[in-house]
């Protein structure tokens, strides 16, 4: 594949977490009964007047600031005209010539490398309704609850050079949106969606090849797979001397392929024109200053702080900061007195595993950060062994029991009393005469065998250091 360079630009649609829609006061809640949050404006009745949601503008400005975009003093809304049953107005209200913000950048980390991805623009627009197609009947059902809900579209420069970079960029954007509290970032529910423009060009060539636009990818894994498939498909075409057709292709997650989407939008002629119903967006300088002053700590800053202050590796910091709730959990565990490196390890292995199995968000886990800190302290103090800690972790996670009380109730405390361990050590040596002889004959590797035997006899509760010490004394 080295003969071609992959060129990717991404268009991300993020649903803003406002209370109401972009141009009317209908609720922006997800998951309601169909068509309950619909009014004359968002159902496209004639003669209505859209009025812009102030909060949506603020949220869009926050994102613009977070990724270093220049916010235009004045930006205008435009109508993007097309007919489809999920679009009752017959046009989407979007921004065309003058978007809200332009020329931003997102820093991403792929493996050990850092890269800056350019952002062309951020603009505000309203979303379409939802169509439900029934295979059995000859109808489609239209739900307008989503019609008119606020989106920002974030368009990247064609700076991405592969699926891995594309996913890293998306994860970073999503993390920023969630940290800002302006989008819930839920890809499955469609509040964070992405279209990918993918093309190949012969290595060393400056001019871009013909691109295909990929849609319908609702997880990071889908994005990765769809791009990988598309890159291979285009490389095959070019190898055979064929042309890539500029078209929209849908990702089929079941088959793992991209399929040409004929019809609907092939003839792009949206006849954009400025929307006469809406005045330009003008955000006062004082308001921008206040928004900027109120920006929270963003993922990158948090990551750098974790590395600098907690001494954890950059890769661990990346994992811990990708979900804001997980970063909050980590910090709460530290506040409860847990050692940073140990807390990071427990969270990234045991905690994340149980969390994913249970399908929970970090904040919803019964095992609170304080309880995790308590567990780590039990191990640090030698009250239980690390091995026991791992064994009881799933139980503690599910029950939310206090680790100290749990250990006491189950009698799992580590045996650190030499007199209590001596019997087990003696018994172990007594039943392995042959090994003892071999050890004394120079096979010192057998030490591990003896330790294991003592551990077995004490159900893993023996203090390993002490066992070693006792064995050394008795065999010496």
């Amino acid at each position: 594949m080295g003969r071609y360079e992959t060129v990717i630009g991404l268009e991300v649609h993020a649903q803003l977490a406002t209370q109401s829609k972009l141009f009317c006061s209908c609720s922006n809640r997800f998951g309601d009964e169909p068509n309950v949050n619909v009014c004359a404006v968002c159902s496209g009745m004639p003669g209505v007047l859209p009025v812009l949601n102030e909060k949506a503008v603020e949220y869009a400005c926050k994102m613009a600031m977070a990724i270093d975009c220049a916010i235009n003093e004045r930006s205008i809304f435009a109508r993007k005209n097309y007919f489809y049953p999920d679009l009752p107005k017959g046009y989407q209200i979007s921004q065309f010539e003058t978007p809200l913000a332009e020329r931003g950048k997102v820093r991403i980390t792929v493996g050990a490398a850092e890269k800056v991805i350019g952002v062309t623009r951020i603009h505000l627009e309203d979303d379409a309704g939802k169509l439900i197609h029934s295979p059995a009947e000859n109808v489609s059902r239209v739900d307008l609850n989503r019609s008119g809900t606020p989106l920002i579209e974030i368009v990247s420069e064609p700076d991405l050079r592969g699926a891995e970079e594309a996913v890293a960029y998306l994860k970073e954007l999503r993390a920023i949106l969630v940290y800002l509290g302006i989008c819930d970032g839920n890809m499955e529910e469609g509040s964070f969606r992405c279209d990918a423009n993918v093309s190949l060009r012969p290595a060393g060539q400056e001019q871009f090849g013909t691109r295909a636009e990929l849609k319908n990818m609702n997880s990071f894994r889908h994005v990765q797979k769809a791009i990988e498939y598309e890159v291979a498909r285009q490389a095959d075409l070019l190898d055979d001397g064929e042309q890539v057709i500029q078209e929209t292709r849908l990702y089929d997650a079941d088959k793992g392929v991209t399929v040409s989407m004929r019809g609907k939008e092939q003839a792009h002629d949206y006849r954009y024109f400025p929307d006469p119903d809406l005045p330009p967006i003008v955000v006062a300088k004082e308001k921008l200053a206040a928004l900027r002053a109120g920006l929270p700590e963003l993922p990158r800053a948090k990551r750098e702080r974790f590395v600098a202050d907690c001494g954890i590796p950059a890769q661990d910091a990346l994992v811990l900061t990708q979900e804001k709730e997980l970063a909050d959990y980590f910090e709460a565990a530290l506040a409860a007195g847990a050692d940073p490196k140990k807390a990071a390890n427990w969270i990234m292995t045991e905690f994340l595993r149980e969390l994913n199995q249970a399908g929970l968000a970090p904040g919803a886990a019964k095992m609170t950060p304080e309880k995790l800190a308590a567990l780590i302290k039990l191990i640090d103090s030698g009250a239980i062994s690390g091995k026991i800690g791992k064994q009881i972790f799933p139980d503690l996670f599910t029950s939310g029991d206090d680790p100290g009380a749990y250990v006491a109730a189950k009698g799992l405390a580590q045996i650190s009393d030499a007199s209590a361990l001596e019997a087990a050590v003696d018994a172990a040596l007594a039943e392995s005469q042959a090994e003892v002889a071999a050890f004394k004959g120079g096979k010192t590797k057998l030490m591990g065998f003896f330790v294991g035997l003592v551990m077995k006899k004490t159900k893993g509760q023996a203090n390993p250091g002490l066992v070693n010490e006792l064995l050394a004394k008795k065999l010496g």
Binding site: T18, Q19, S20, C24, S25, C26, S27, N28, R29, E33, P34, N35, V36, N37, V38, C39, A40, S43, V51, L52, N53, E54, K55, A56, V57, I76, N81, Y82, F83, Y84, P85, L131, I132, H133, S134, E137, N138, V139, S140, R141, V142, D143, L144, A267, D269, R271, P274, D275, P276, D277, L278, P279, P280, V282, A284
Partner: protein, 97 residues
Amino acid sequence: MKITPERVAAVAKLARLTFTAEELTRFAAQIGDILAYMDMLNSLDTTGVEPLYSPAGLAGPTGATRPDQARQANSRSETLANAPATDGEFFLVPRVV
């Protein structure tokens, strides 16, 4: 700009309209006349004049937005009252995929 019947047909298609050949020719002439009037406006020198995209802009930047408060405007039955076809929950349209 010269408007041809073909151009009218293309725009009509985007608007989901069907015209006879006679109509295409007639509308081409009429739309051409309207655009000729625009050409007349274009002959004015507007150098240095900020385009007025919307008369709404004259109201100024204040009061052009609303606070983010949600309220229910209509019940579902009101929303669906004028629908040509509905199952009581959704608008029904001819199947599109």
